[in-house]
C-alpha cells in the first residue's frame, strides 16, 4: 500500500515550503504574487506566451539537479512538489553587486519599461547556466517565449552575448547552493502519493506509474496534467473546473526513452526540450520542428504525450509522427493496448482514450535508410506561433526513381491531424517528378476542406499546403537554389 501524504513540499528560493491548503487549479504565479508578495514575477498574458512570469524550476533528474525556465502563470502549484522554485528575488544583489545576467542587462540598456525584464532575466539566467557563451541562435531560442514591446530586443541580445564577461558560476547563488539544494530535494522524496483536497477540489500526485494506473481506475474522470501548457489555459482563460486532477509531470518513469529495431519509444512524459535532445541526432527534422513549438518555457513543461493526448487539430507533433507510422501505447490498470497514432484521432475533440486510460508511450519508426523525411510548419510569425498549416512528408523511392512508399500528413487542415490519402495515392508507384507532383495537387481538395480563422484563410491554407508538397519535391530533387527562407541557413 502506497503511503499517502496530504501536503506538498518544495523549496521556494531558500525556504522550504509545506502546504496543505492548495487548490488543484491554483497557479504558481498567483501563489507567488498573492500569497507570498513576491511581485518581481509579472503577469503579462496568463497563457504562457509572453514570458513576463518566467521563473526557474529545479528538479532532480537521473542526470542530477536541472533548472529550467517555466511559465509560472500556467504552472499549477500542486505540480511543484519536490522541486526548487527560483524567482527573480533569489538573484538579490550580493554585497551590492548585481548578478552577471542583471548587470549585463543594465549596462546594455536591455530594459525600457521594465515590465518584461524579470522574465527576460530568468530566461537568460537559465540559458547562462546551460551555455555561458551562447551563439545568437541559442540566445534567440532561449528568448522565443519572452515578448518585449519596447526595446526591439537588440539591446537584450547584446546583453546576452556579454553575460559571461560579467562573471562566472562563482557569482551565482544557485551554483553555490547546488549540493545543498539537491540534498534537500532528495530528502523530500518519501515515495508517497500526495492527495490534497476534498470533493471538487481534489488533486493527486501519484507515487509511480503503477500508482497512476491504480488511481485512474478509481478516478476515471480525473484531468491528467503533465506540463499544463494546454490545461493551464483551461483555467486561466476559460475558468473551467478541472478537478479532480492527477499530476504526472514528476514521473521519471514516463520520461524514459528506448530504441529497438529502428523504433524509438518515447515516454509520454518526455518534454519537448528532452525530445529535442533525443531527436537532434536521430530525426533532425523533428528536432527542428520542436524548436518552433511555443517558447523555451513551454518546451520545458509541455510533453509529447500531452501534445498527442489533448487531440488538438493544430498540435505539431502528431502529423510528423503519423507520417512516420508511429504507434501509441495506452494503459489502463495493468493492461495495455497499442494502436496506430492515426486511429487515436477520431474527430474534433474526440480521441480513442477510454475512461481510466492514459497515454504511456509513443513508438516512432525512424526514417528508413535512403528515405526522405521533411516537416514544414507555416505560421504568421516564425517562432512561438500556432500552426496555420503543417505538412509532414515521408518518401521512399525505389531504385528506378519511382515512389515506393509515401506518407503525408497535415495539421491545421482538418478537425484532426490527418493523412493525405488521396494525394498519397496519386503519387505512389509513379516516378518522383514534377509532373507527378503537379497531378497530385488536384487531389488536395479530396483530402482536405480547411477552415478560415484568425490564423489563415481556407484559400491560403489550401494553396500553401499544396506548395509544401512542391517544396518537398524541390528539396528532394537536387537543386542549387534555395527553397526556403531561414534565419541561420543561407537563403
Amino acid at each position: 500500500m502506497t503511503a499517502i501524504r496530504s501536503e506538498i513540499r518544495f523549496i521556494l528560493n531558500g525556504e522550504e515550503v509545506r502546504l496543505a491548503e492548495v487548490a488543484p487549479d491554483e497557479t504558481l504565479l498567483d501563489y507567488l504574487r498573492l500569497r507570498r508578495s513576491l511581485t518581481g514575477t509579472k503577469e503579462g498574458c496568463a497563457e504562457g506566451d509572453c514570458g513576463a512570469c518566467t521563473v526557474l524550476v529545479g528538479r532532480l533528474t537521473p542526470d542530477g539537479l536541472v533548472y529550467e525556465s517555466v511559465n509560472s502563470c500556467i504552472r499549477f502549484l500542486g505540480s511543484l512538489d519536490g522541486t526548487h522554485v527560483v524567482t527573480v528575488e533569489h538573484l538579490a544583489p550580493v554585497a551590492g553587486r548585481l548578478h552577471p545576467v542583471q548587470q549585463a542587462m543594465v549596462d546594455f540598456h536591455g530594459s525600457q519599461c521594465g515590465f518584461c525584464t524579470p522574465g527576460f532575466v530568468m530566461s537568460l539566467y537559465a540559458l547562462w547556466m546551460q551555455d555561458p557563451k551562447p551563439s545568437d541562435r541559442r540566445i534567440e531560442k532561449a528568448l522565443q517565449g519572452n515578448l518585449c514591446r519596447c526595446t526591439g530586443y537588440e539591446a537584450i541580445v547584446r546583453a546576452a552575448r556579454a553575460i559571461s564577461s560579467y562573471g562566472d558560476a562563482n557569482d551565482d547563488p544557485l551554483a553555490a547552493e547546488r549540493a545543498e539544494i539537491a540534498g534537500r530535494l532528495n530528502a523530500m522524496r518519501d515515495g508517497a502519493r500526495v492527495e490534497i483536497g476534498t470533493g471538487s477540489k481534489r488533486f493527486f500526485i501519484p507515487a509511480s506509474v503503477d500508482d497512476l494506473a491504480d488511481l485512474l481506475e478509481t478516478e476515471p474522470k480525473a484531468t491528467i496534467v503533465a506540463g499544463a501548457t494546454d490545461v493551464g489555459l483551461w483555467v486561466t482563460k476559460f475558468m473551467r473546473e478541472i478537478a479532480p486532477v492527477v499530476f504526472i509531470g514528476h514521473l521519471d518513469e514516463l520520461r524514459r526513452t528506448s530504441e529497438k529495431d529502428g523504433v524509438l519509444s518515447i515516454g509520454a512524459g518526455v518534454s519537448y526540450t528532452e525530445a529535442f535532445r533525443l531527436l537532434a541526432g536521430r530525426v533532425p527534422a523533428l528536432a527542428t520542428l520542436i524548436d518552433r513549438i511555443g517558447g523555451e518555457q513551454v518546451r520545458n513543461m509541455g510533453t509529447i504525450g500531452g501534445n498527442i493526448a489533448n487531440g488538438s487539430p493544430i498540435g505539431d507533433t502528431p502529423p510528423p509522427l503519423i507520417a512516420l507510422g508511429a504507434t501509441l501505447t495506452l494503459r489502463k490498470g495493468r493492461s495495455r493496448r497499442t494502436i496506430t497514432l492515426e486511429e487515436f484521432f477520431i474527430d474534433y475533440g474526440k480521441q480513442d482514450r477510454r475512461p481510466g486510460e492514459f497515454v504511456e508511450a509513443v513508438h516512432v519508426p525512424l526514417p528508413a535508410a535512403g528515405s526522405r523525411f521533411a516537416i514544414y510548419k507555416v505560421t504568421k510569425r516564425r517562432d512561438e506561433d500556432i500552426t496555420a498549416t503543417l505538412g509532414a512528408f515521408n518518401l521512399m523511392l525505389d531504385a528506378s526513381g519511382k515512389v515506393e512508399k509515401i506518407r503525408i500528413a497535415y495539421g491545421g487542415m482538418a478537425a484532426t491531424p490527418k493523412r493525405a490519402h488521396a494525394v498519397e495515392a496519386a503519387i505512389a508507384g509513379k516516378p518522383w517528378t514534377r509532373e507527378t507532383v503537379d497531378a497530385a495537387l488536384a487531389e488536395y481538395e479530396r483530402d482536405f476542406r480547411p477552415l478560415t480563422d484568425m490564423r489563415a484563410s481556407a484559400d491560403y491554407r489550401m494553396l500553401a499546403s499544396k506548395n509544401l508538397l512542391v517544396r518537398f519535391f524541390l528539396e528532394t530533387s537536387g537543386r542549387a537554389a534555395p527553397v526556403q527562407v531561414g534565419r541561420y541557413e543561407a537563403a
Binding site: G40, Q112, E154, M454, L463
Partner: protein, 782 residues
C-alpha cells in the same frame, strides 16, 4: 539615487549631465524585480477587485439584464451598472458625450463594458462576471471601413480637408496618372503591463487613484466628472507604466473611473486589472485605414498633383479619432512636395472598439499612402523607387510648402538619405539582389530605402504646455517632479539630466518622483513625442528660477557681480572663491531664500486654423531613413528580414543611449505593425485576436539578421529646443516602412518588376503569397 557619497568638488564635469549616455533611472530595479508597478503595490487592507462585464452583441439594444446570479456569486460585494454612476456616465475625452463608462440601454461593439462586478478577490470577480444573463435585440452593424457608405458615411467627428492648388485639375492634365486604393491594418499596443487602476477612498469626496496612464490630468478630470465632484477631490498618481505607446493616453479612464466609483460606494480600496483578453477586447487600438489615392506625374517621375481620402475605422465613438485622422492628413506628404494636393479624412463610425492613440498617431498611416504613390510611379516608369523618392523630396528654399501651408524650414532629408544610401551600400546590393533573383525561382530578395519626416507638436495648440516642480533641500539634494509620465521611454532620466546640468550637480543628487496631479496640475498627455521637449523645458525653467535666486543671494551677500557667479560641478564660484553647492544652499536657506519653484513652458511659434486647413502646427520636423532587405519564399509567402540599416536624427541628443533604444524599439514595433500583427474580426463582429496566442508581435528572432542603427551626429535642432535636442518617441516607428517596401520589391520580382505589387499591410505571409499569386496571374495575362 540620493546616495550620500562624497561629491567630487574638483571635477570638470558633473556625473550625468546632458548629452551623455545615461542608463534608464530604474534599470537596476527592472532587472531585480523591485520596480513597483501598480499591481505590485501593497494593497490597503480590505482591497476589493473589479471585473468588467462585456457585451456579447455587436450592435444591439439591451432587452433585459438579469444580474442576480452575479450578485449572489461567492465574494461579490457590489455590481455597478450605468444607473449607479453618480456623476456623468461619460468618458469621452473630447467632451462629445459619446462614450459611456457603462453601456446604457444599447451596446455598440462586441466587448463593450456593460456592468462591473466588485468582489473580495479578482478571481471571484472574474467568475461572477460570467453569470450575467443579458438579452439583446440585435441591429445591423458595420465593422469594416469598406462596408461604410462611400457617399454619406456615418462619422464620429468632423472630417478635415487640406488643400493647396487645384489638385483635380493638375492631375487631369498631367502626362501620366495613377489611381488606387490601399488598406493598412490597425495594431494592438500590447503593452506588457495591461491597464490597471487602484482607487483609494479618502475623506470628504476625496479619492486617490493610482492609474497606469500617460495622462494623469485627464484621468483626474474623468474621475471627477464620473463621480460628480470637483477636480480638487481627485488625485491621480503614476510612477511608471509597463509600456504605453499611446494605449494609455485615454484608455485608462474607464478603469480609473469605475474603480473610483466603486471605492466611494464601498469605502474600500478597489483595484481593477482586466485580464489580457478583456484588455485587448475592450480597449482601443491603432486605426486601420482605407486609403484612396490619385496622382498625376510626368515622364521623369515628378509628382504634379495628389489627391487622398483617408477613411479610418474609428469605432463607436470619437475618442481621439479626430486628431488621429488629422495627423494622417498632415503626413500624406511624408517627405515629398506636392505642387497641388487635396487630402480629406473620413473618420468612420464602426461597431468596433473605439480606436485611439498609438505611436505616430495616424502619421504612419498617412505616410504609407504617400509611399504607395511613389511605388506606383516607379513601377509605371520602370525606375528605382529611390530615384522617384529623391526627385520629389521637399526643397530647402523652394518647393518647401506642406499641404497645410507650413513652410518646411529645417529640411535635412536629402543628406540623411544620401548618407544612408552610401553607408548601406544600397546601389551595389540592389544589383546583387537582381542577380540573385535571376538565379533563384523560389526564394526572392527585395530591398527598399524609405525616408521619413514627422511633425513634432500636438496639433491641438493648447496641449503644447508643461509644468514642473523642483525643490532644493538643505542637504543639496533635489526633488524633481513634472507632468510627464514614464512608460519606459526614459523621459524621467532625460529631464533629471537637464536639472542636474542646470544646477551642475551629479545626476544622483536629483530624485525623480512619481507623476501626480497634486504637484503639477493641468498637464498634457505624455504623447506626441513631446515629453522631453515640454517637460525638459519646464523643469529647466523651475531650476533656473531657483538658480537665479541663489545667484541674487550670493551676489548680495558676497558683494560680487552676478556675472562673477558660476555654477561649476557640485560647487559654485563666487568671485575668486569656490564653495560647495550645498554650502550655498544652506546659506540661502538661513537667509530665507525660497528653494522651491514651479516651472512652466509653452511651445512658441505654433498655430493652427483647422477651418482653413492652414497654419504652423509643428514646431519642427524629425527626420530619418531606413534601408531594409528581405528574402521571401514565393511558395508560402514566408519571409525574413535579412538586413536593416537606419540613419536617424534626434538633434543634439540629450542621451544617445536612450534615443538608440527608442529607434531600435520603434523600428521593430513598426515592423510588427506592417508584417505579422493582424487584427481579425469574425462575421459576428467579434475581434478574435485578443491575446498573444493569436496576435503576433515581433520576437527576438524576427529582428533583422543584420541591424545597423546610426544616430546622425551632425544635426542640431533648428529651433531653440531643450539643449537643441529633438523628439524621438514616435518618428522611428515609421522607419519600418522600408520593410513593407522591401517585401513589395521582392514580390515584384515574380513579375519582373513590371507590375506594381500594391502590397497591403499587414503583409502577413498569407497576404504576401496572395499578392504573388495575383502578380503571376496579371503577368501571365499580358
Amino acid at each position: 539615487m540620493n546616495k550620500h557619497a562624497a561629491l567630487d568638488l574638483k571635477s570638470s564635469r558633473i556625473a550625468g549631465g546632458i548629452h551623455t549616455d545615461q542608463r534608464h533611472d530604474s534599470a537596476h530595479k527592472h532587472v531585480t524585480g523591485t520596480a513597483v508597478y501598480i499591481d505590485d503595490m501593497p494593497e490597503p487592507a480590505g482591497t476589493l477587485h473589479g471585473c468588467l462585464g462585456l457585451s456579447t452583441a455587436t450592435h444591439a439594444t439591451i432587452r433585459s439584464m438579469d444580474l442576480s446570479a452575479v450578485r449572489a456569486a461567492p465574494g461579490v460585494v457590489d455590481v455597478l451598472t450605468a444607473k449607479d454612476i453618480p456623476g456623468e456616465n461619460d468618458i469621452s475625452p473630447t467632451g462629445r458625450h459619446d462614450e459611456p463608462v457603462l453601456a446604457d440601454g444599447k451596446v455598440q461593439f462586441y466587448g463593450q463594458p456593460v456592468f462591473c462586478v466588485i468582489a473580495r478577490t479578482r478571481e471571484e470577480a472574474r467568475r461572477a462576471c460570467r453569470l450575467a444573463k443579458i438579452e439583446y435585440d440585435e441591429h445591423p452593424f458595420i465593422t469594416d471601413a469598406a462596408e461604410a457608405d462611400p457617399k454619406n458615411p456615418k462619422l464620429v467627428t468632423e472630417p478635415l480637408t487640406l488643400k493647396r492648388g487645384d489638385a483635380a485639375a493638375t492631375i487631369a492634365r498631367a502626362p501620366r496618372r495613377v489611381k488606387g486604393q490601399m488598406r493598412v491594418g490597425g495594431q494592438d499596443h500590447f503593452y506588457l503591463e495591461g491597464q490597471i487602476a487602484l482607487a483609494v477612498p479618502g475623506e470628504d469626496r476625496d479619492v486617490t487613484v493610482y492609474s497606469s496612464t500617460q495622462h494623469p490630468s485627464e484621468v483626474q478630470h474623468m474621475v471627477a466628472h464620473v463621480l460628480g465632484v470637483p477636480n480638487h477631490a481627485v488625485t491621480v498618481e503614476i510612477r511608471r507604466m509597463g509600456g504605453g505607446f499611446g494605449g494609455k493616453e485615454t484608455q485608462g479612464n474607464q478603469f480609473a473611473a469605475l474603480a473610483a466609483v466603486a471605492a466611494k460606494r464601498t469605502g474600500k480600496a478597489v483595484k481593477i486589472r482586466p485580464d489580457r483578453d478583456d484588455d485587448m477586447t475592450a480597449t482601443g487600438k491603432r486605426h486601420d485605414f482605407l486609403i484612396d489615392y490619385e496622382a498625376g506625374y510626368d515622364d521623369e517621375g515628378n509628382i504634379l498633383g495628389a489627391e487622398f481620402r483617408y477613411a479610418a475605422r474609428c469605432g463607436f465613438s470619437a475618442d481621439l479619432s479626430g486628431a488621429v485622422t488629422d495627423r494622417a492628413l498632415f503626413h500624406c506628404d511624408n517627405a515629398y512636395y506636392y505642387p497641388a494636393v487635396r487630402a480629406v479624412s473620413a473618420p468612420l463610425y464602426t461597431n468596433t472598439v473605439s480606436n485611439t492613440a498609438f505611436r505616430g498617431f495616424g502619421g504612419p498611416q498617412g505616410m504609407v499612402g504617400a509611399e504607395r504613390i511613389i511605388d506606383e510611379v516607379a513601377f509605371a516608369l520602370g525606375k528605382d523607387p529611390l530615384e522617384i523618392r529623391r526627385r520629389n523630396f521637399y526643397g530647402t528654399d523652394t518647393r518647401n510648402v506642406t499641404p497645410y501651408h507650413q513652410t518646411v524650414e529645417d529640411n535635412i532629408i536629402g543628406r540623411i538619405v544620401d548618407e544612408l544610401e552610401k553607408s548601406s551600400d544600397y546601389q551595389r546590393r540592389r544589383r546583387q539582389i537582381a542577380a540573385f533573383n535571376a538565379n533563384s525561382d523560389v526564394v526572392k530578395r527585395g530591398i527598399a530605402l524609405t525616408p521619413l519626416k514627422f511633425g513634432i507638436s500636438f496639433t491641438a495648440t493648447q496641449f503644447n504646455q508643461a509644468g514642473a516642480l523642483v525643490h532644493v533641500y538643505t542637504d543639496g539634494s533635489v526633488h524633481l517632479n513634472h507632468g510627464g509620465t514614464e512608460m519606459g521611454q526614459g523621459l524621467y532620466v532625460k529631464v533629471a539630466q537637464v536639472v542636474a546640468e542646470e544646477f551642475q550637480i551629479d545626476l544622483d543628487q536629483v530624485k525623480i518622483t512619481a507623476t501626480t496631479t497634486a504637484k503639477v496640475p493641468n498637464t498634457s498627455a505624455t504623447a506626441a513625442s513631446s515629453g522631453s521637449d515640454l517637460n525638459g523645458m519646464a523643469a529647466q525653467n523651475a531650476a533656473r528660477q531657483i538658480k537665479d535666486r541663489l545667484i541674487d543671494f550670493a551676489s548680495e551677500t558676497h558683494g560680487v557681480a552676478k556675472d562673477q557667479i558660476l555654477f561649476l560641478p557640485n560647487r559654485v564660484r563666487i568671485g575668486n572663491q569656490e564653495i560647495p553647492f550645498v554650502e550655498l544652499v544652506k546659506q540661502a536657506y538661513n537667509a530665507r531664500v525660497q528653494l522651491s519653484a514651479a516651472g512652466f513652458y509653452k511651445t512658441p511659434k505654433i498655430h493652427w486654423d483647422r477651418e482653413k486647413g492652414s497654419g504652423h502646427p509643428f514646431y519642427y520636423f524629425a527626420y530619418g531613413a531606413a534601408c531594409a532587405e528581405v528574402s521571401v519564399d514565393t511558395l508560402t509567402g514566408e519571409y525574413m528580414v535579412e538586413r536593416a540599416d537606419i540613419l536617424h536624427e534626434t538633434g543634439r541628443s540629450l542621451n544617445r543611449a536612450i534615443d538608440l533604444g527608442q529607434i531600435e524599439g520603434g523600428f521593430i514595433q513598426g515592423m510588427g505593425w506592417l508584417t505579422t500583427e493582424e487584427l481579425w474580426w469574425d462575421g459576428k463582429g467579434r475581434l478574435r485576436t485578443h491575446a498573444p496566442s493569436t496576435y503576433k508581435i515581433p520576437l527576438a528572432s524576427d529582428r533583422p539578421k543584420i541591424f545597423n542603427v546610426t544616430l546622425a551626429d551632425w544635426p542640431e535642432a533648428h529651433e531653440p529646443t531643450i539643449h537643441r535636442s529633438k523628439a524621438v518617441g514616435e518618428p522611428p516607428f515609421m522607419l519600418a516602412m522600408s520593410v513593407l517596401h522591401a517585401l513589395s520589391d521582392a514580390v515584384a520580382s515574380v513579375a519582373d518588376h513590371k507590375v506594381c505589387p500594391c502590397l497591403d499591410a499587414p503583409a502577413t505571409p498569407e497576404r504576401v503569397l496572395m499578392t504573388i499569386e495575383r502578380l503571376r496571374k496579371t503577368r501571365a495575362e499580358h
